[in-house]
Amino acid sequence: MSVTITDSDISPGDLATAFYADNPHGAVTTFAGFVRDFNTQGEVETLHLECYVEMAERVLSDLGAEARQRFGLKSWQIVHRFGSLSSTTPIVFVATSADHRAEAFSACEFVMDTLKTDAPFWKREDFEGEQQWVTVAARDVDRRRRWDTKDPVS
C-alpha cells in the first residue's frame, strides 16, 4: 500500500521483485508503461511529464485505497515518474495482489484507467523541433467511464 511520485528513474523489474517478495498472494498483477517512440504524427524524441506532486500523491493514495476496497485487494502499489523522459523509459508501475486473479486483474486495470484521466500529470511530446501537449484520448475517457457502472469483477 504505497504511492511514489518521483522525477528519478524507476525500475519496474526491481519494483516487481520487491512487491512479489512482500506479497506472494494467490494472484499478483502488474502493469508497467514505457515511453513509446512514436505518436499519431510520427517519431517522438522526448516526453516531458509535468506533475502537481502534492495532488498526485493525494489522488493516487485515494485511488489505491478505493481499488483495495472495491476489489478486496490484499495489497497494492503505484509508482509514477515525472520530468523529461526518452523513449523506452519507464513512466508508471502499478501492482495489485488478491486471493484470486479476477480481482487482481480488474483492480490493476481500474487503477490504470483512472490514473490516466484523474491523476495530475500532463504530457508534452517533443518531436522535430516542436513541442505539443498531449490531449486526452477519447478511448481513455471511455475506459475511465466504464468503471462508474461496471460490475466490480467482470
Binding site: 502537481y52 513512466i91 484521466t117 501537449w133
Partner: protein, 84 residues
Amino acid sequence: MAIRVKFFSLIREAVETEELTLNFDAEISTVAGLKSFLGERGEAWVEALSHPNLIQAVNQRVVFQEEAINDGDDVAFFPPMTGG
C-alpha cells in the same frame, strides 16, 4: 487572507506563471471570484481561465468553481490530465 495559486501545462504557459501567493481581504470567497480577480491581470489571464476544459482544484481536490476558498488554501488551475 492568504492563498497559494498554481498553474500547470497549457494554463501555466498562457499566464506565464507557475505559482502566486495572494494576500487580500476576504472579498474573494469562491474559485469563481478568484478567477475574476486574476482576470484583472490582462487578456491572457481572462482567456486562460475561461478555457472550456479548465479544471480547478482546491487543496488537491477537483472542485466546481462555486467552491469556497479559505485562508491558507492551495488553489490550482490546469487542463485535462494525461497521466500514465
